[in-house]
Subunit: 350 residues, 2 copies
Amino acid sequence: MKKFDINEDPHRRYNPLINEWVLVSPHRSKRPWQGQNETITSDTLPEYDPTCYLCPGNVRANGMVNPDYESSFVFENDFAALKQEEIAFEENKNETFFKAKPERGISRVVCFSPKHNLTLPEMSADAIENIIHTWQKEYTNLGNVDYINHVQIFENKGSVMGCSNPHPHGQIWAQSSLPTEVEKTQSNLKAYFDKHNKTLLEDYVKEELKLGERIVIENDYFVALVPFWAIWPYETMIVSKRNVSKITDFTETEVTDFAIILKQLTTKYDNLFETSFPYSSGIHQSPTDGKLHPEWHFHMHFYPPLLRSATVKKFMVGYEMMGESQRDITPEKSAEILRELSITHYKSKS
Amino acid sequence: MKKFDINEDPHRRYNPLINEWVLVSPHRSKRPWQGQNETITSDTLPEYDPTCYLCPGNVRANGMVNPDYESSFVFENDFAALKQEEIAFEENKNETFFKAKPERGISRVVCFSPKHNLTLPEMSADAIENIIHTWQKEYTNLGNVDYINHVQIFENKGSVMGCSNPHPHGQIWAQSSLPTEVEKTQSNLKAYFDKHNKTLLEDYVKEELKLGERIVIENDYFVALVPFWAIWPYETMIVSKRNVSKITDFTETEVTDFAIILKQLTTKYDNLFETSFPYSSGIHQSPTDGKLHPEWHFHMHFYPPLLRSATVKKFMVGYEMMGESQRDITPEKSAEILRELSITHYKSKS
Ligand SMILES: O=P(O)(O)O[C@H]1O[C@H](CO)[C@@H](O)[C@H](O)[C@H]1O
Ligand SMILES: O=P(O)(O)O[C@H]1O[C@H](CO)[C@@H](O)[C@H](O)[C@H]1O
């Protein structure tokens, strides 16, 4: 009988962060593609767009005027999915099928730069440090609101990821409950911490650094790697080497190192298909429920959809929705490709 | 303090099938859209396409020639994500971070019709009965293979759902393990059954039929409804009224009623935006592991991405990937819209 070869044979891998599996089909990378091609958005955006509701000095949907901001700029989302209002509600504990609870929250937009056409990889490391400081401030301020127990910082980049405006920006949705994915992660992190008195990611990163094969970049305080259990073709995770549970625990050196690794990783992404690389990214860290959370270990997920070119993405559809996530290229191969890409942006080379 | 109004206030709803929550933001339906528009594929496909690898008589990628089939036609996927080969493997039970296991399986393509341009809603109920019989046969034959414990029947319809060929077809991925989503569902169904000695969906459907507000269509043996916990804007589920755990338990009258409800539901979908409505659908039913599964209750999920028109879809991205699924329009509103749509296909009206 043929012996198992993880680089060739169909197999499942286990994700200990959320207790779920992914189906890996390495032999399938050669599949031809006759399906949908994504449109590439033009690379020649102006530095200022008079019709953009995020550019400095412009008017937003609700009539407010953006200030002439010079670095980052934060405002309440004009079409927020959450509202701050307190709602009276009596819970029916016996309800099985029609369980619903009002949810309070605050949703903000974070403009990364006044320049309409500048994305993370093209910003200076200093400008990125400024964004990190903004995230720290927001995490603190939102986390201090009495009913806010979780602050989700994220970015949707590219129209293929549902982003409706190319002006560089992310969002923050802060709310009273722990969202489903965070709750799952927390329960697995906690079980590990209770057993080993160390964080799951501290031990995982140590192992990965020893093996090396899934590392994309590292510096003194951070590692960017393709997780062993990654589902998206070029999914990565930035993890702090030191066991910090939240962004506000960073030292200033860590802020600098985090800015550098963010710039380098997103530059490699752009270089992969010589395009402004779409992704959703988001930070997972300690809830703000006022309790100590030694089990949490700061990490940032990058979920990019592209598979083989700037226009062909991976579809997580039928089997993936009914069954489980499936990937073709192995995480090791993706890491190798990303590792070998330059950290100089392709546009700055000419 | 304002009293909770489920039709207006942001809230979370609980999905008892998979033990996860969804964030509902009813007030947000008015959000303007400046983002990506999907391309609509031309409605004027030929009945036979000489370049289509699914049309009768044509040659496939591996050189095989399709027979001149007259109803449905099943073949092994030429680029299967799973392989049948048995792989030797020694499990390391102590592994935490690098858990992987070879996975055996069989992956098939089911052509629904020899006609290149015919989709489910435009087929006769008889032709759909024929597809159901094919699914029954495949479920039995694949389920009888000694190492196959789960048979996933599904369809990706439309290029926006990753479908690379408009020729009407679905797929079946049969494998040795229970996929993640099925495993989750099974554990919740089982807990309910052990407690109540009835299936969760039997009780749920009874409650929904009493309330009526989320029902889209029903006939003697089946109900199509928008689940209370639906995440996609027009997500639905077809559930058998009788407690049957798998498709092979259907009586012939049930096959007929299932065909009719499939035709009517997909017709309503097409009528919604007067377009060939994209979705991923899939059947959840008893595993084929040789054990009795009284907890399973036959149901079929429909996950359609469109939100407001034939070109604007809902993106499950940043917050949804990091946090939890989010929807704007309420399930009750969606059900009302679908319920009121005609069961005569818009194309046959002219
Ligand atoms: O098998 P197909 O139709 O070529 O491919 C499609 O369905 C598969 C199963 O849901 C997915 O893994 C692919 O990403 C999708 O493009
Ligand atoms: O808030 P935006 O950028 O308008 O909208 C985008 O991000 C949100 C949060 O991930 C999603 O709910 C929307 O589907 C997506 O289009």
